[in-house]
C-alpha cells in the first residue's frame, strides 16, 4: 500500500470525491487498519519458489503467536 501518511491520503482522497476535513480524519483512522492488513499480506507472501505456510501463522484473534505483525480487518460485518 503506497499511501503511508495522512498528507498522501488527503491528497488522493480529494482527487476521488468531495471529501471534508472530517471525512479525511475518519478515513485516516480507518486506513491505519487497512495499511496494517495490507502489510501483513505482503509479509506472508514467499519467494517465487515458496508456498505460504498457514501452519506458521498466528493462532490468535489479534494475530499474535507468529512472526507476522498484527492483522487488522476493516469494514462491515
Amino acid at each position: 500500500m503506497e499511501y503511508r501518511n495522512n498528507e498522501q491520503v488527503a491528497a488522493r482522497a480529494a482527487q476521488l470525491a468531495s471529501v471534508s476535513s472530517d471525512d479525511i480524519e475518519q478515513l485516516n483512522d480507518l486506513l491505519v487498519g487497512v495499511r496494517t492488513a495490507a502489510d501483513l499480506m505482503e509479509s506472508l507472501i514467499r519467494e517465487f519458489d515458496g508456498e505460504i505456510d498457514v501452519s506458521k501463522m498466528s493462532g490468535t484473534v489479534d494475530g499474535t503467536g507468529s512472526s507476522s505483525p498484527n492483522p487488522v480487518g476493516e469494514g462491515s460485518n
Binding site: M1, Q26, L30, E51, G63, S68, G73, G75, S76, N77
Partner: protein, 466 residues
C-alpha cells in the same frame, strides 16, 4: 381457520397449506397484521408489499383450488434483504442513492424462491449498502432487536434477523460477506447457513466475490427447505456451481453419533469473548457431546490472517463498485458509509492479489485440517459479543473482531451454520457456529436439525411476539 398461523414454523405453514387447512391469503394477512403492529417500533422492514403479497397469495390459492401442482414453498412469506433486487418492488439498499429504484428483474435467488411458491412480503432493513455501521442518518433508521427493543439488531442483515424472529415473515434471506447473516442469526435466536461458495448464485445483484446469500430461519428444517429452493446453477454467473440440487430437507434426518467436531480452543480463548458467550458455548458443546458427537481439540492457525485478507478484498471490491458514484454523489451517501467505502481506493492491485493468495492458502489448509482429522465440522461461537452495541465499541468494530469467527470462511467459501444456543444478560440471543468442508452443507444441516430436535431454542419467541 387456524388461529395465529404466523406462530407456526415455515415447514408447518406450508404443510397446512398443502393439506388445505389454511389459505395463502390467510397466511399473508396474519403476517401483515404482525408487521402493522411491530414494524413502526422495530424498523425491521424498509418496504412492505401488502398488495403484491396478497396478489401472490390469491394466485397460489387459485392454483391450489384448480388442482395445479404447488411449489415446495407455496404460501411461505419471505422477507428479502433490501440489497437484493426484486422486480417491481423498491430496492433501496437503505441508501438515498437508490431511494426510488424499482428493479425490472428479480435477482436469480428471488426468482427461484418465487418459482418455488414463496411470497415476497417486503424488503428488510440493513446497514447502508450492507456496509459500515448503522446510523440514524441512513435512509431508514437502524432496526431494533425484538428480544430487547432497546437494543439494536446486529447487521448487516439486521432487519432480516428481526423479521424472522418476530414472526413478521416465515423466513428471510440476507447476504453474508464477513458474517452479515450469521451474526444477526445468532443475535436473533435463529438458524442461518452461509452455503458453500457458488451454491446460491448472486446473479442479478451487487455483490462481493466472497459474499453469499443466506436464509435466516426459525428451525434447521426451515433452513434446509429454504436453501433447497435457493440452490441451483445459473449459466450467467461464472461463480455458480453446476452440480445437482441436493435434497437437503428429505435427507435432514441422520445419525450423528460418532461425528467428530473440532474445537479450536486456543483460538477461541484468545478472542475477547464476553462471559455470557463463554457460558453459552460451553453449554452448546455439552449438548453436542450428549448427542454422541466426539469433541476433538485442534490447533487452528491463520484465522486472523484470513479475516484480514477477507476484509481487504471486501474493501477493494466495494470501492470498485462505488467509485463513480462516490465521485459524483458523495453527499448522497451516509457520512459513515462513504468513508468506509473510500478505504478500498488506497489499496493496490498487488494488495488485492496478495490477499487472494493468503485466502487460497488458508482455504486449502482448513480443508486439510478437516480431512486429516476426520472432522465433520469445527465449532466456535458465532460472535464474541452478546449485543450489537458491544460489538461496535471503538477499536473492536474497526478491527473486525465481531467477525473473528465468521469472516475467515468467507474468503475460503466453506459453509458455516449459526445455531441458537442461549441468551446474554441483556436478553439478546447468543449463537454458536459449525463450519464444515466445501459442499458438506447437508452434514451441517443434519447436525443442526438433530440439535434443534433436542433443544427448545426454536420454540421460543420474543416478548410481545407471540
Amino acid at each position: 381457520m387456524i388461529g395465529s398461523p404466523h406462530l407456526l414454523t415455515l415447514s408447518q405453514q406450508i404443510r397446512l397449506l398443502r393439506e388445505g387447512e389454511i389459505t395463502a391469503v390467510e397466511l399473508v394477512q396474519a403476517h401483515l397484521d404482525v408487521i402493522i403492529g411491530l414494524n413502526p417500533r422495530l424498523n425491521s422492514f424498509i418496504t412492505v408489499d401488502s398488495e403484491g403479497a396478497l396478489k401472490q397469495a390469491r394466485a397460489i390459492d387459485t392454483a391450489r383450488a384448480n388442482g395445479e401442482r404447488l411449489g415446495p414453498l407455496a404460501g411461505a412469506t419471505v422477507g428479502v434483504k433490501d440489497s437484493i433486487p426484486t422486480a417491481g418492488l423498491k430496492t433501496t439498499d437503505n441508501s438515498r442513492l437508490l431511494e426510488n429504484w424499482i428493479p425490472d428483474e428479480d435477482a436469480a435467488t428471488v426468482a427461484r424462491l418465487r418459482k418455488a411458491g414463496a411470497i415476497v412480503i417486503g424488503k428488510t432493513n440493513l446497514n447502508e449498502f450492507g456496509w459500515s455501521r448503522p446510523s440514524e442518518a441512513d435512509l431508514m433508521p437502524p432496526p431494533w432487536n425484538p428480544w430487547n427493543p432497546d437494543r439494536m439488531s446486529v447487521g448487516s442483515s439486521s432487519g432480516s434477523g428481526a423479521v424472522t424472529t418476530a414472526r413478521m415473515a416465515a423466513a428471510t434471506i440476507g447476504t453474508d460477506g464477513g458474517g452479515s447473516a450469521l451474526l444477526p442469526s445468532g443475535a436473533h435466536n435463529l438458524f442461518s447457513i452461509k452455503p458453500t461458495h457458488g451454491l446460491v448464485s448472486r446473479l442479478g445483484m451487487d455483490h462481493n466475490s466472497h459474499s453469499e446469500i443466506s436464509p435466516l430461519c426459525r428451525t434447521a428444517l426451515d433452513t434446509a427447505i429454504m436453501l433447497e429452493s435457493m440452490v441451483g446453477y445459473e449459466p450467467g454467473d461464472d461463480m455458480s456451481w453446476p452440480g445437482d440440487v441436493p435434497e437437503y430437507a428429505a435427507n435432514i434426518e441422520e445419525d450423528i453419533r460418532g461425528w467428530r467436531i473440532g474445537i479450536p480452543r486456543d483460538f477461541i480463548a484468545s478472542a475477547p469473548n464476553e462471559s455470557e458467550v463463554v457460558d453459552v458455548f460451553d453449554s452448546f458443546l455439552k449438548t453436542l457431546e450428549s448427542l454422541g458427537c466426539e469433541l476433538v481439540d485442534i490447533d487452528l492457525r491463520g484465522m486472523a490472517e484470513a479475516r484480514a485478507a477477507n476484509f481487504l478484498v471486501l474493501n477493494s471490491e466495494a470501492y470498485q463498485r462505488h467509485q463513480k458514484s462516490l465521485r459524483s454523489s458523495w453527499n448522497a451517501y451516509g457520512p459513515i458509509t462513504r468513508v468506509y467505502l473510500l478505504q478500498g481506493a488506497f489499496l493496490s492491485a498487488n494488495d488485492l492479489l496478495n490477499a487472494g493468495e493468503v485466502g487460497r492458502a488458508f482455504k486449502n489448509y482448513f480443508s486439510h485440517i478437516l480431512s486429516d482429522q476426520s472432522l465433520k465440522a469445527i465449532a466456535t461461537p458465532t460472535s464474541p459479543f452478546a449485543t450489537a452495541e458491544r460489538s461496535r465499541r471503538p477499536g473492536e468494530h474497526s478491527r473486525g473482531i465481531n467477525a473473528c469467527y465468521t469472516a475467515p470462511f468467507n474468503i475460503t467459501g466453506h459453509p458455516s451454520i449459526s445455531l441458537p444456543a442461549g441468551f446474554g444478560d441483556a436478553g439478546i440471543p447468543v449463537g454458536a457456529m459449525l463450519t464444515g468442508d466445501l459442499h458438506t452443507d447437508q452434514s451441517l444441516l443434519q447436525l443442526a436439525h438433530t440439535y434443534d430436535e433436542t433443544t427448545d431454542w426454536s420454540t421460543l419467541s420474543p416478548p410481545n411476539c407471540s
